[in-house]
């Protein structure tokens, strides 16, 4: 959380000086920029920005200071959902502003947030029964299969198929289909049936992970062994070791090869 905020602030600082640069410096800098300027339209206003910039950087170049609609800048946080159209094409396009590079004559609007109600539930009390999803999100059944959600997904998820899977009680299917969801909310913004797809999918993935996928038994065994002190002696040995000794042990340690099979074991099995 704090890392994200810091990132956002530094982005803000980077933009400010550019907007306040004296004309002379701007001209000087312009010479340095090899990139061609292309026209784009941000919320209907024309700007000329260097080609090759992402939509997000182009907005900042144009003077926008982003305090929302900007998060990880790496295509995973879902904060910068963006819609755009190009002249001569009725199709609405979608993108993440931090990932998509600008194209000439794009008409751009960011949709950093779209209202969507998340059901309140005590997860510990939920089972994997499909009816749990039906009860928490009864609007699920308002889907008319228009497929606008799928078209609006910048992650290329078959959103409508995942909604259908939920209606069919196939929670595992919905969880797997929606695995790449970054909860940007663009599907929800386009939904004819007013569904909050991404919240439903989050519930499906939680249910899938906690109730459907088999538990990792070996992990519980290992945690038990650690708690019972099976490794305490080895840790104590390391703690008491002199620096030189410690360096030697570290340098001589056996590393699992990259292509090791599942049954790989180190030569020294004392610590297993």
């Amino acid at each position: 959380m704090s890392a994200k905020q810091t990132k956002k602030k530094s982005a803000t600082r980077a933009v400010k000086p550019r907007t306040k640069k004296p004309a002379a410096t701007a001209v000087k800098e312009e010479k340095k920029i090899a990139a061609k300027l292309i026209p784009i339209y941000i919320m209907g206003k024309r700007y000329e920005v260097p080609e090759g910039l992402t939509i997000m950087k182009a907005m900042e170049y144009a003077g926008y200071i982003l305090i929302r609609g900007c998060g990880c800048r790496g295509g995973t946080c879902g904060a910068c959902g963006t819609v755009y159209r190009k002249p001569g094409d009725y199709k609405l396009q979608v993108a993440l502003a931090c990932q998509k590079t600008v194209e000439p004559d794009m008409y751009i609007a960011q949709i950093p947030f779209f209202p969507a109600n998340r059901a309140t539930y005590e997860f510990a009390g939920l089972t994997a029964a499909p009816e749990e999803v039906f009860k928490l999100y009864p609007e699920l059944f308002r889907c008319v299969a228009c497929n606008s959600c799928t078209k609006a997904c910048p992650q290329g998820i078959e959103v409508m198929d995942a909604v259908s899977a939920l209606k069919q009680g196939n929670i595992a299917g919905a969880a797997q289909l929606s695995f790449d969801c970054i909860q940007c909310g663009l599907c929800t913004s386009r939904c004819f049936g007013e569904l909050a797809q991404y919240h439903m999918f989050q519930l499906a993935r939680r249910t899938y992970g906690a109730r459907i996928v088999p538990r990792a038994e070996h992990l519980a065994e290992m945690v038990k062994a650690v708690n019972e002190g099976r490794y305490d002696r080895f840790l104590d040995e390391l703690k008491q070791a002199k620096e030189d000794e410690l360096k030697k042990v570290y340098q001589e340690r056996e590393v699992e090869p990259m292509a090791a099979g599942e049954d790989w074991k180190p030569k020294d099995t004392r610590y297993l």
Partner: protein
């Protein structure tokens, strides 16, 4: 032989006792019900408003995806799904203007004009397997089982999509004969169960069920045979209400035709999921020696 098969949402949740015996039985008959890989809701209720095209999108999208796979026939099992899909298909065949609008909007990359033939599993049994051939495959004839075939509305109405004679259907009765049961004709076999009316007036559920169940009982039926999960819900809930209201009212087992098919073909009752049935069929089936010995079946009556 592989048949492109559309299950429908309810068959994957509440009505697994309709689907699973069907899939197993068809396999025993040499047909694979091959579930189409991408399907969505059938639309549930066919929209009657002339300009309400958005509610045709769901059924038509399913049909387009079937066509895209190069299939020409789609088998359905739920009577409601059959109705929505077949009526939407008819619209795509007959109304050029609406067809164009829907094709344009649905945007699946190919155009559709009703090429896929939508059929019900009963039609496959009648037309592709044949009653005679079916009866020869029966291992456990359902002898002595007085079962009333209940059609409801959606297999037969409107006339244009009916799978049998609208006024005097015999397909379900013929099926029962083929599996060795004794079909009980009764005048209310095509009367509406209340359908989705019970959503807006839940208090009426018993009144919709009353004439149907009374008629079947008074004609000597000991079980009602269904094709539709909504009929099952309404009649099952309805008879519970009636039993509460009316002392001495006898609840009768409601069975899907596919469950009887599986039993007759000698398949394990486990595939029938009788635990999902209304009106506990256990004692009746045992009485008629229709549950193979040594099979442990979990039978819980009518809890939903």
């Amino acid at each position: 032989m592989s048949l492109a098969y559309y299950p429908g949402c309810t068959l994957k949740t509440k009505a697994r006792n309709l689907e699973e015996p069907a899939v197993a039985s068809m396999e025993a008959l040499g047909f694979k019900l091959d579930e189409i890989p991408r399907w969505n809701c059938c639309g549930a209720v066919y929209s009657l408003a002339d300009d309400d095209l958005i509610h045709q999108v769901a059924p038509v999208r399913n049909l387009i995806r079937v066509k895209k796979q190069g299939k020409t026939e789609l088998v359905t099992l739920c009577a409601f799904c059959l109705n929505s899909l077949k009526r939407a298909n008819l619209l795509m065949r007959q109304d050029v203007e609406k067809r164009n609008t829907l094709n344009d909007f649905i945007d699946e990359g190919i155009d559709y004009s009703g090429e896929v033939k939508v059929v019900h599993l009963l039609e496959v049994l009648r037309d592709e397997v044949g009653w005679e051939a079916l009866s020869q495959k029966v291992k456990l004839p359902l002898r002595g089982l007085k079962a009333a075939p209940y059609y409801g509305c959606t297999l037969l109405r409107p006339r244009e999509i009916a799978i049998d004679d609208v006024e005097n259907p015999t397909i379900l009765g013929d099926f029962l004969k083929a599996v060795g049961a004794s079909p009980v004709d009764f005048p209310e076999s095509t009367r509406c169960c209340g359908s989705y009316q019970v959503v807006s007036s839940p208090g009426d559920i018993a009144e919709y069920a009353r004439p149907i169940l009374n008629s079947a009982l008074s004609h000597g039926a000991e079980a009602l045979v269904l094709t539709c999960p909504l009929c099952d819900y309404n009649l099952g809930r309805g008879q519970k209400e009636l039993a509460k209201k009316q002392g001495g009212f006898r609840e009768m087992p409601l069975l899907y035709f596919t469950q009887l098919l599986a039993l007759a073909l000698g398949l394990s009752p486990r595939v029938c999921h009788f635990d999902l049935n209304h009106g506990s069929p256990e004692s009746l089936l045992k009485e008629r020696n229709l549950l193979p010995q040594g099979e442990s079946v979990q039978l819980i009556g009518g809890q939903q």
